[in-house]
Symmetry: C2
Subunit: 531 residues, 2 copies
């Protein structure tokens, strides 16, 4: 069994780590009062790990189902599935002391094996945490044992195939363990693309995208991941669900929408049927400057409500524009534009991309935008998976850095942005640090948009507790101000205290009953999503 590709104590590929530039390091030291020096990272081979509590009989039984090579209780295997990649996760990983971890890693090879594993674990009181790319930033992979004797990480990596492609209909069936790049490679061999590029793209999996309602940076053009899904195969302790018979249906409630976003608590998604499109002939790029965020947001609203059809459209606020966060490799360098930077791209046939580009440009100009040409839009695209690496360096230098996101209607957007910014700034000030809060719109809808915040502050005392308090205050503010508790990061353990605010008491009752029906023993991903 090989190890997952992400670093155990940081984002992503250790080879791709981004050291801090001198400018930003000096800024951290002077503005946030932190050391600015990289803290030494613990050694993965000597980190003390919670002992495995999986009984030998259980291990043997699981090995009988999936084969001995596909069950491991090795410390390193367990450490690499110890959780996700939120800032609290990474801070905890780099603390001295014992690390939590699942008691075993199981890598089944087909649906029948998963059904047998779930059956065995249901009967023998073993919790199961489905594991895809390991990129959760909401505690969705925490190895909670709940009341059970042990917890196993069920790694879907062997579900790594393009199962089928219907090139007439533009539908592909992908195994749940196919990663973002693998999906593009497998589909690209046939001239197709999925077009789903969330920041987790390089590591996250198709099953994870579905289980968390992921949203990619091309969502204006290709939609959220849940909107791409045409069918799901889900193995649950109560049996198999095979959902989605047609492109659209009026055959009652859409049960697929119960399993999308189920975060491993209702079943294990093993196959996803998705809409795919021909690899676009052309991509057009244009960046824009707006005098302020309100003007830029109104322009994005006009584009979306008119339906001019960009593939990507995003807007950084003044703070984010000021430090070039949108173009990662230039952070702290010369500012690209005053005011607010917006990025647009257009994909498709040349005629399609050109007509969308022309109509969008006309609306953006009419709404007060000034074209910056292609270069900043291309620079954004080049650096778009880089920001999480930067967080690793900031955390190591003693800064607190995290992101959070929400969505609301256009009419409530400015109000919610101000309230969240204030909540973050005030709650972190209470811990004795200034905070730089930056924001962008990256997902637009005719009726509203997402708001994605990045906050950088100084670590003070117990940095995990420091962030938890700021996050709680901020989430309460989001709830009170009419935003959703998450637009695309999912619920996991971290947002679970506010699920009742999101769906109400009766909504929680419905979720619990659905869980009881599909997972009667309650073994699936305890402590996540459902209060």
């Amino acid at each position: 069994m090989s190890l997952p590709p992400m670093a155990w104590n940081a984002w992503g590929d250790p080879e791709a780590a981004t050291p801090l530039g001198d400018g930003i390091r000096a800024l951290l030291v002077s503005a946030l009062g932190v050391s600015g020096e990289p803290a030494p990272a613990p050694d993965r081979d000597t980190v003390p790990l919670r002992d495995s509590t999986l009984a030998d009989t259980d291990r043997a039984a699981l090995a009988d189902i999936v084969g001995a090579a596909n069950v491991s209780t090795d410390d390193l295997q367990r450490l690499y599935r110890a959780g996700g990649k939120s800032t609290p996760d990474l801070l905890r990983r780099n603390e001295p002391g014992e690390q939590s971890a699942p008691d075993a890693v199981v890598t089944p090879g087909d649906d029948d094996e998963i059904a047998a594993v779930l059956g065995y674990c249901s009967a023998h009181g073993i919790a199961v945490v489905p594991f895809g790319g390991g990129t959760s930033v909401v505690g969705g992979l925490d190895p909670e044992r709940d009341t059970f004797a042990a917890v196993v990480s069920l790694d879907l990596r062997r579900f790594d195939r393009l199962v089928s492609l219907d090139d007439v209909s533009g539908e592909a069936v992908l195994g749940a363990g196919v990663t973002g790049p693998a999906a593009e490679r497998l589909l690209g061999e046939h001239g197709f693309s999925l077009g789903h590029f969330p920041q987790s793209f390089q590591f996250a999996t198709i099953g994870g995208f579905a289980a968390t309602r992921s949203s990619g940076q091309d969502s204006a053009g290709y939609g959220r991941f849940d909107a791409m899904v045409r069918g799901l195969r889900v193995v649950t302790p109560a049996g198999v669900l095979d959902l989605g018979r047609a492109p659209a249906s009026a055959a009652g409630p859409d049960l697929m929408q119960l399993l999308l976003g189920s975060e491993g608590t209702l079943g294990v998604i093993t196959q996803v049927r998705v809409r795919v499109h021909r690899v676009p002939e052309t991509t057009r790029y244009e960046a824009w400057s707006f005098p302020d965020f309100a003007t830029g947001a109104a322009a994005l609203r006009a584009v979306t409500q008119t339906g001019t059809g960009p593939t990507v459209i995003r807007l950084s606020d003044e703070a984010e524009t000021g430090i070039n966060l949108a173009t990662t490799d230039k952070i702290g360098g010369e500012q690209i534009t005053g005011g607010c930077l917006a990025v647009t791209t257009f994909e498709g046939t040349a005629a399609h991309a050109d007509s969308r580009h022309a109509e969008t440009r006309a609306v953006l100009e009419r709404c007060g935008g000034t074209s910056l040409g292609e270069a900043p839009a291309k620079a954004w695209e080049d650096g778009r998976f880089g920001a999480p690496y930067l967080r690793d360096s900031l955390l190591a230098a003693g800064a607190l850095c995290e992101t959070l996101e929400t969505a609301t209607t256009w009419s409530n957007l400015a109000n919610l942005k101000a309230a969240v910014t204030d909540a973050l700034t005030t709650s972190l000030a209470d811990t004795g640090t200034p905070a730089l809060v930056m924001c962008h719109i990256s997902h637009v809808y005719p009726t509203g948009a997402s708001l994605y915040f990045t906050v950088v502050a100084g670590q003070r005392g117990d940095a995990i507790a420091q962030w938890r308090a700021a996050k709680a205050t901020t989430t309460e503010t989001i709830v009170r101000t009419g935003g959703t508790i998450t637009h695309h990061h999912a619920v996991g353990a971290d947002h679970r205290p506010w699920m009742r605010d999101e769906v109400g008491d009766l909504g929680v009752d419905v979720l619990r009953q659905v869980k009881r029906t599909l997972d009667p023993a309650g073994i699936l991903n305890p402590g996540k999503l459902i209060p």
Copy 2:
């Protein structure tokens, strides 16, 4: 309490009835062996009606909740809520003998009254059938008592307001009882439109659209009704659900999608928050001719997968084109075009409509289409709500006329169309009549499309049984050939035997558990949707 506007024994407004032309009457007589003469309709004032079984104490208790003027056991009131408008419904309505009907009609005025009615009915064993426009064509309004002592029709007509309009975000909250024309009028006063024009538009309601996952003729431009919904308020026996906090969310399963399509079995939808758009500046029209259905379908697929952006795009097959069914007022007249007629429209700003029109035209021409200019597209729009009136006249003349619909992937479309046509033709031939089967595509998606069939045959013997048998054979064929059992007519009583095929045994278990949670006494719309 006034009567609903639809005729009790026919579609729609009696004033708008369409007599058959001489040409089509002659065709019916010669081809189908029917009389061609209108049968006399029963008199609504003397039709024998099932006696009301509502106990006086129950009637008094309901009157205490909603007011005496809002409870009726009058025969005429009950007769007008006796069911929907499927062909079996209309045939039954025109038969001699006792008619089924709810035992009372209740018209509550607010959510609290509905909650109290549901509480009372749950405690006292009274079934409740929510009633909007009364346009169901799948038995969704059948006044089933199940094991209960009585069944009441809960008419939402008093929920007739535009509750609020957010003109920045393009969101409106509409009462469940607002009809299609009322929604357009209420929104139009503020410069907005919903853009939902199903064939039932003139009578059906916002609550009904949501409860049945309705799909309108402008779905290519504005989406299915379920895609327009941003929030739902649902009063259930177990409490109130207020769902939908943001334009999009990753906060777990989308519970709104459980209530959309719930067909009155899980709760009573009282308010719907919908996306609305500015009344379009411009509408462009263009009709097309294709040499055959396969060529036309491939052209529609190219348009949809390219994303050229028509507001309406539809394609009649050779048979439907041959009798001008697409332009109702010319049925049986001179054929507009050989081959297959397609209709396109484009709405929005002039720049938007023109660019979509130009791109669509280029694709349709490249795919073998020949422009027929504006006129046939405008004629389609003018006559688009007329077909159900024609059915009334056909039924009265001794013909059997009904529609059914499904959807599938583009790659399976020809296969499914052939299989359904064969099933209808063969099963009706077994009853001794030829059948004319016509088909169109009226809803397109990147991965597939709907197929809408109209069948005209001769009534032979028990016409209801004759149609039930043909419908059952056809639905089994749809299931076997990979279509959904309904794309936009919903499930009701008529498609319920095949829900298990649609969602599987475990899916049915989930639906039953959700029902048990929200409607513990099982009073809501018995015998519909959930097997």
